[in-house]
Each structure stands twice: as structure tokens, then as C-alpha cells.
């Protein structure tokens, strides 16, 4: 059911076809690649919360720190950058908030979690370096 | 002794609706306070990282303790077979449920994350006394509910004694559990005492009965139902015994603490310190909250007056609040003895530098939230009395007294 609702969200409201987000700019693949012949990552769109929940307990309780399904990993990749500074993923229209607002699903993660990539994020550093070189 | 007839209260008078409206207003105020605290965080309360449990907890624990005590009247009737108390059983059981509901409401609304109620009731750490209490509280509601049904449904009457036994045992465990919330805290010198659990049981007898008597008096007076002296005198004497028992436990608790040198700091802090806790202990708990009501209940001139008995009940409740305030907040106000052999010269986190104690002043939202819990209990009772047959039509001596000739 939830999956169905998610599928019905109009394309335009989804932030992941923005061109400028960090990971896309650097040519990164999602931890779950888009299925063959699809244009949208339906698996992630429908089930990201399950994967996040599963991973959350592994990291919190057992210290498993792979990038796969780590919220930090998502943010490092999917945040956009404006004027050399990362934009909060829960700001209107951004990766998390854009979709959650359209689907009217409460977003609880960011009462605690940071909303921009870590200052130690390799992707962010790489992105900034690439774009400072542009200038 | 005649057969007891129970009848719903009319509940049509302006006074009745006024009462409901008044209680409703307090509840609205409490919801506003809750929203305010929840929205801004606990920074707007008087609670800090030093005084982590504050006024809401005083109210909540008072109501929870009183809840199990309020059930005593029913237990005396069913378990100990005292006929005189039988007609009082239904009111006793519903009051117990209502008080518990009120207390739990306050406890829940003070949580840092009240939105996680589901987590609280589905994820259990079975080593936690708090978690046991969550089970004990829900169980209490269920068992007392069944007990009430057996008392009220004629066909089930014959089983009510068994349900009464179950409820009685359960309530003893429940109050032991509530007392143990504090009793097992090894870190805190004021709490680390096994006597906490039995002391809480005796406190529940006293607070619960005082509230019960006030509800009984008010209900019978406002509905013009006769309430005879036999019952009033019996309850009055029982209350006197309970008040004295609480005092006794208080004395023993402090004496045992005084015996152990490591507990001397906390004892002198409470008993002879220069903070408000010493004042509240001696004046609030001992003099105004225990000795004065005892005097009122046994001095012939006042003991014969309903009004003075009611005042004594009120003072007992005041004493109960004072006692819980001193235990709960006074117990936190003395900094933890992290370095028992050392004086603290400097600290980056309020460790009681040079013997400084922690201050606490309850903010208004906290107090209103607590009063909201009381109002929740009372509104439940007020409403219940109207919709079901809880209140006997008459408790005049010739109706209620088994020995009446």
C-alpha cells in the first residue's frame, strides 16, 4: 500500500532528478542500482525506510559501519550544494523533504540526525574540489 | 442490615455540570502546559540535569500510590470479610482506577518523547523496575476492572471475593514496585533503602483513604444521600492508624539512615539543613500533614465534626505531597557522592562545589500538568458515578451497619 502511494507521487516533486546533487554530479551509483529499463529507483523509493531501520540497529548496537543504507551515506550523496555550502536535505524541495511532503509522511530522522553531509565526507570534499577547480 | 441499593447519581444539576466544567478547564490547562513543555523542551520547566524528576513526578507518584490505597476499602470488604465496608467497595475500585489513570497521564505527558508511547509499552527491558511497573499498572487496571464487574453483576457476585484477593495481592505488589523505583537506586543515598517499598505501601493506605473519604463525603453531601456516623467513624479511626503508621515508617527510615555513617550527609541535609526541604519535612510532612490531622481525628470536639474530619483528610493529602516532594526532589537536591572522601573544589557540571546543593523551583506548567492529572482522576469518577451504579443510595446507620438493631 505504502509502496503504491509512493509510486503515484508525481515525478516533478521528486528531488532525485535534480541534476546538481553531490553523488550524481560525481557519477556515483546508489547502493541499490536502478532496475534495468526503469527510470526511477522504485526499490529505494518504496523500501528505503526498511533498509534504514535494519541498518540503524546494526550500526547502533553492533557498530557495523558500512556505507550501505547508512543515513549518513544517503545524505553525503544526495545533498545538494549551493554557493559552496551543502543544503539541508530536509529543506523544502530537497531530497528527503521534497518526497516526504508530497507523500505526507512525517520525517522524524532529523530531530536528531544532521541534515548536511559531515565535514569529513569524502564525497563532499571531492565535490567541492571538483567545483572549485571549475572556477 | 438492609440490602444495599446502588443508584446512579442524578448529574443534572448546575452544580454537577459546573464541577465537570471546572475539572475540564484544569485538564485543558494541563494540555496547554504539556504542549508548551513538549514544544520548547524541558528547558522551560524547573527541571535540570541535576533535578531530573520534578513536580510532575511528585503528582504522578502521589496519584499512583494513592490509587492502590483507594482500593483498600474494597479489599477490607472482600478479602477481610468486613460487612460494613462492602457497600463502599464499588466506589473504592472505580476511584482506584481513576487515580491510576490520572497519575499515568502525568507521567506520560512529562516524558521527553511522549510520542513514543508505543515504544514504552511494546519494548521491555525486564530487568527494569520501571518496565515491571508498566505491566503492574496495566494489570491493575484489568484486575480491578474485573473485580468491579464481579461486584456489580449479580450473577458474578459469588466470585467477587476471589477477584478481591487477586486485586489485593496485585495492589501490594504494585506499590512495592513503585517504592522500589527509588529503593533500588544504589547511586542515591536518599533512596538506597529497602524500607522504601513497605513505606510506600503504608503511604498508599493513608493517601488513598484520605482521598476516598473526601470523595465519599462530597458525593453523599452533594447528592443529599444519608451517610451514617458508624461508617464515618470507622473510616476516621482507620485513617488515624494509617497516618500514625506512615509516621512510624518515616522515623524508622531516618533512624536506619542515621545509623549508617555514609548516609549522614543526606540525613542532616533533610532533617537539619537550611533549605526548604527541611522546612517542608518538619512543617509540611510531620506537623501540618501528620500530627495536626491526627489531633483533629482524635480530639473529641473535632473528631465529631464531618467538616473537621474532611479538613484532616485534606491535611493528610497535603502531608503526602510534602513527603513525596522531600523524598523525590530533596533526594536529588543533595549532589551525588561521586567522591565520598573528597571535597569538590571545581566542577564543569554542577557536582556540588564546596557543598552547594541543587536548587529546584517548579514552573507553572509543571504544576498545572500535575493538577491536570488530579482533574483527570476526578472527572472520571464524577462521570462514572453518573453512568453506572457505583454509589449506594443510603449509607445511613440502619442500612449500612451490620450490628444495627
Amino acid at each position: 500500500m505504502a509502496a503504491l502511494v509512493v509510486m503515484m507521487i508525481p515525478f516533478a516533486s521528486i528531488a532525485d532528478d535534480k541534476t546538481s546533487y553531490i553523488g550524481k554530479d560525481l557519477g556515483k551509483q546508489c547502493v541499490i542500482p536502478i532496475a534495468d529499463g526503469e527510470e526511477v529507483n522504485y526499490e529505494m523509493r518504496a523500501n528505503h525506510m526498511k533498509h534504514l531501520l535494519d541498518k540503524r540497529d546494526k550500526t547502533m548496537h553492533l557498530g557495523v559501519r558500512t556505507e550501505e543504507f547508512s543515513l549518513k551515506g544517503c545524505i553525503d550523496c544526495h545533498a545538494t550544494v549551493k554557493d559552496g555550502k551543502p543544503v539541508k536535505v530536509n529543506a523544502p524541495g530537497e531530497f528527503c523533504a521534497g518526497c516526504h511532503k508530497a507523500a505526507s509522511v512525517k520525517l522524524d530522522c532529523f530531530e536528531c540526525h544532521a541534515t548536511v553531509p559531515s565535514k569529513n565526507s569524502k564525497l563532499l570534499q571531492e565535490y567541492l574540489k571538483k567545483h572549485s577547480a571549475d572556477k | 442490615m438492609k440490602e444495599i441499593v446502588y443508584k446512579e447519581i442524578d448529574g443534572t444539576s448546575l452544580k454537577y455540570w459546573g464541577l465537570l466544567a471546572g475539572l475540564g478547564a484544569v485538564i485543558l490547562g494541563a494540555l496547554g502546559s504539556f504542549y508548551y513543555m513538549e514544544h520548547n523542551g524541558h528547558v522551560v520547566t524547573g527541571m535540570t540535569n541535576q533535578i531530573v524528576w520534578g513536580m510532575p513526578h511528585v503528582f504522578a507518584i502521589f496519584l499512583i500510590v494513592a490509587a492502590s490505597g483507594a482500593l483498600n476499602i474494597a479489599s477490607i470488604g472482600s478479602v477481610f470479610g468486613k460487612k460494613l465496608y462492602k457497600p463502599l467497595g464499588r466506589m473504592s475500585a472505580i476511584l482506584a482506577i481513576a487515580l491510576l489513570a490520572g497519575g499515568l497521564t502525568v507521567l506520560l505527558l512529562d516524558l521527553g518523547r511522549p510520542d513514543r508511547l508505543i515504544v514504552a509499552i511494546t519494548t521491555f527491558n525486564f530487568k527494569s523496575i520501571f518496565a515491571w511497573n508498566i505491566i503492574l499498572y496495566t494489570g491493575f487496571m484489568g484486575i480491578v476492572g474485573v473485580y468491579l464487574w464481579m461486584m456489580m453483576e449479580r450473577k458474578m457476585n459469588k466470585y467477587s471475593t476471589y477477584a478481591g484477593y487477586a486485586a489485593f495481592v496485585w495492589r501490594l505488589i504494585l506499590t512495592t514496585g513503585t517504592g522500589s523505583i527509588f529503593g533500588f537506586l544504589v547511586a542515591r543515598q536518599a533512596y538506597d533503602a529497602a524500607i522504601m517499598a513497605p513505606m510506600f505501601v503504608v503511604m498508599s493506605f493513608s493517601f488513598g483513604l484520605a482521598i476516598y473519604m473526601l470523595v465519599l463525603f462530597a458525593t453523599f453531601q452533594w447528592t443529599d444521600r444519608p451517610l451514617g456516623d458508624v461508617i464515618v467513624n470507622r473510616l476516621k479511626n482507620l485513617l488515624g492508624v494509617f497516618i500514625a503508621a506512615v509516621l512510624y515508617f518515616t522515623v524508622v527510615y531516618h533512624l536506619t539512615n542515621l545509623y549508617a555513617t555514609e548516609h549522614h550527609p543526606v540525613e542532616s541535609f533533610i532533617l537539619s539543613g537550611d533549605t526548604k526541604f527541611t522546612t517542608i519535612f518538619w512543617w509540611g510532612q510531620v506537623i501540618i500533614g501528620s500530627l495536626l490531622p491526627l489531633a483533629l481525628l482524635y480530639y473529641p470536639a473535632t473528631a465529631a465534626s464531618r467538616k473537621w474530619i474532611a479538613i484532616a483528610c485534606g491535611l493528610t493529602i497535603y502531608g503526602g505531597f510534602s513527603q513525596l516532594y522531600v523524598i523525590l526532589i530533596g533526594g536529588q537536591a543533595l549532589p551525588l557522592a561521586i567522591f565520598p572522601e573528597h571535597n569538590i573544589l571545581e566542577s564543569g557540571f554542577n557536582d556540588g562545589v564546596n557543598g552547594t546543593t541543587h536548587a529546584y523551583t517548579a514552573s507553572n506548567p509543571e504544576i498545572i500538568l500535575g493538577l491536570g492529572g488530579v482533574a483527570v482522576s476526578l472527572i472520571m469518577v464524577t462521570f462514572a458515578f453518573k453512568i453506572l451504579k457505583f454509589v449506594p443510595e443510603s449509607l445511613a446507620d440502619e442500612v449500612a451497619d451490620p450490628h444495627h438493631k
Binding site: 557495523v64 | 521527553g112 520501571f130 572522601e341 569538590i344 557536582d351
Partner: protein
Amino acid sequence: MNEKTENPDLDRRKFLGKALTTGAAATVASGVVLVNVADAKAPEAEASSEVRWGMLVDTAKCTDCGDCVTACNDEHGLNPAEGESEKPLTDSKWIRMVKIEHKSTGKVTSLPMMCQHCENPPCVDVCPTGASFKRPDNIVLVDKHICIGCRYCMMACPYKARSFVHEAIENQVAEAPRGKGTVESCTMCMHLVDDDKNPACVDACKEKALTFGNIKDKASDISIALKNSESRAIREDLGLNPGVRYKGI
């Protein structure tokens, strides 16, 4: 510009990663000795009960400078948000300096206090939801996803190690999620420890008063130091067997 000079950190980390995985001894030029290779944990590995992280504080070396406190606050984003002033009664403190004087001898000692990472932590016993928990490697943590903010753990902790987050926070760092209405305390910098680094306070101490390591590994620096010198746990009488121990109190 030359790529290498622009981001030396990245390259150093890559080098270290390789060094660790190939099992080479990992001693870096600056004299920082990394934890033993045997303890190195791959990102996908789970924390092991073969490891118990501990810390030894040598109070004789402590100069009361507070660098450890500053490092902790910076590492976990505990400083007040911009434009906000400190609120000493309600702000979170994961580590603090305490200066104590012995009642009989008058000896004055300064030391850092933080979560002592007990083997038998009272906070874990009392937590109704199991949000207070112990990792297999004995790091004591709060799972803020299931913490309901009842503060019973704060009542139970003999070290006043825990703080309640009293107001909404927006300046979290990615490595230390924290939010209003939940309880928090020292995590022994688990995000660094899982990455084979030392906790921030340990690296910040110029006097090397803090030794960190696996106390179950008898060959580790901390185990050797513990074995060869007198150390005490705070409130040893409670029998909680903390992972943090102190020399000179």
C-alpha cells in the same frame, strides 16, 4: 594545483587503511600509536565481546587544561548554537573537569569525568525500554531511537554521566546524532573507535594523561599500564567494574 598536497588527509587515511589491512605495524610519523592491528575492525565487522574498550586516566599528568572537554564538545557538536549562550544547568556535558580535595590529607587532584562504561551499568538495568544498552565491546550507549526520555537512567547513574537534551537542537554533527527529549552521554567516540582511532579526548590530551585501548588484550598499552601500576575505579564500593580507571586518587 597538485591534488596530493590539497588533500593530504585523504591520502594518509588510504595509506593507513592499506597498512592496517596488510597487517603492517601502524606507527605514524607524529608518534601517535594506533591501536593494535589485532583489534582493527573492518567496517562490516560487528563489535566483538573479545574486546573491552577502557581508559586509564593518570591524574598526576592532568594539568586541568580542559583540552579534553573542548575536544569532546567539538567532536560531538555540544557547543551552544551560534548566538546562544551557555545554560549551565541544562546543557549537555559528556565530559567535564572536576577538581577534588581529599578530606583528610588535603591532596588536590584534577581529573576528567565522563561515562565510566561500567561492566554492570545501573543505567542499563533501569531503562524501561532497553534504550540504555551495552555494546558487545562494553561501550555503554543510549539508543535514542527508542529512548522515551523518562530519565530513570540519570537517577540511577552514580557518576552523573548523563544529560537530558532540554531543547531542540539544529547544529548536530553527522557523527553524533542528538535531539530534544532524549538522554545522552559519552559514547567513547564509538564512531572513531570503530574506525580504529582514539577517542577525541585521548588524542586531545597534550600530557598523554589518557590511555585508551582494549583491556581484554593483555598486550595492549592500557593492559600493561593497568597491570603495572595502582589504579582505582570511582565508587569502587558499588562493584560496577567501570571501564574507566584512575591513577592517583
